[in-house]
Amino acid sequence: EDQVTQSPEALRLQEGESSSLNCSYTVSGLRGLFWYRQDPGKGPEFLFTLYSAGEEKEKERLKATLTKKESFLHITAPKPEDSATYLCAATLISNFGNEKLTFGTGTRLTIIP
């Protein structure tokens, strides 16, 4: 069964304390790996798409990386406004054209001032 698993479920960091969120996937043929940010009461906001192992993408304090089995979202010197739930999702080669996303359950990140 295709699965996307995120860890940890929740993470509390002091402002400025860097860390990483993990997304592991067991899918039969990964086509793309997506990262989203979701604030309470809002829809998911697109951050990154990664397509091949070794690929990296950056946006402000966030950097996403991809290996053959997992993806990491590295957050460097976070600020309180980075507090949110971060969602990971995968699309499969078998879904090419439909691009259906299989989501993990998310990591709830809290940055303490």
């Binding site: 809002k42 829809g43 697109f46 798409t49 999702a89 259906k100």
Partner: protein
């Protein structure tokens, strides 16, 4: 941002009543999706559409139907709402660059 708007944003309805949620996008995206989000389950695909009048089931489609009569509109209908359908519903659409954008959500409570 795909200019996705959902309506209603909040609704309380009684068990057994029909409910329709509307999704409207302004980017002329071909693919549109309906997801539900529940604690412990994450986002799960209900139905999706790959063009006008072309739809298919997702992983949790039982009790739901969809229709797409125009490119910009994708409707989700609960024919007879049940308490298990209390959830947050998100509409999404896919850009030509293969990025999937989400709307702001519709909170549905079935009492």
């Amino acid at each position: 941002d795909a200019g996705i708007t959902q309506s209603p944003r909040h609704k309380v309805t009684e068990t057994g009543t029909p409910v329709t949620l509307r999704c409207h996008q302004t980017e002329n995206h071909r693919y549109m999706y309906w997801y539900r989000q529940d604690p412990g389950h994450g986002l799960r695909l209900i139905h999706y559409s790959y063009g006008v009048k072309d739809t298919d089931k997702g992983e949790v489609s039982d009790g739901y139907s969809v229709s797409r009569s125009k490119t910009e509109d994708f409707l989700l209908t609960l024919e007879s709402a049940t308490s298990s359908q209390t959830s947050v519903y998100f509409c999404a659409s896919r850009s030509s660059g293969n990025t999937i954008y989400f709307g702001e959500g519709s909170w549905l409570t079935v009492v």
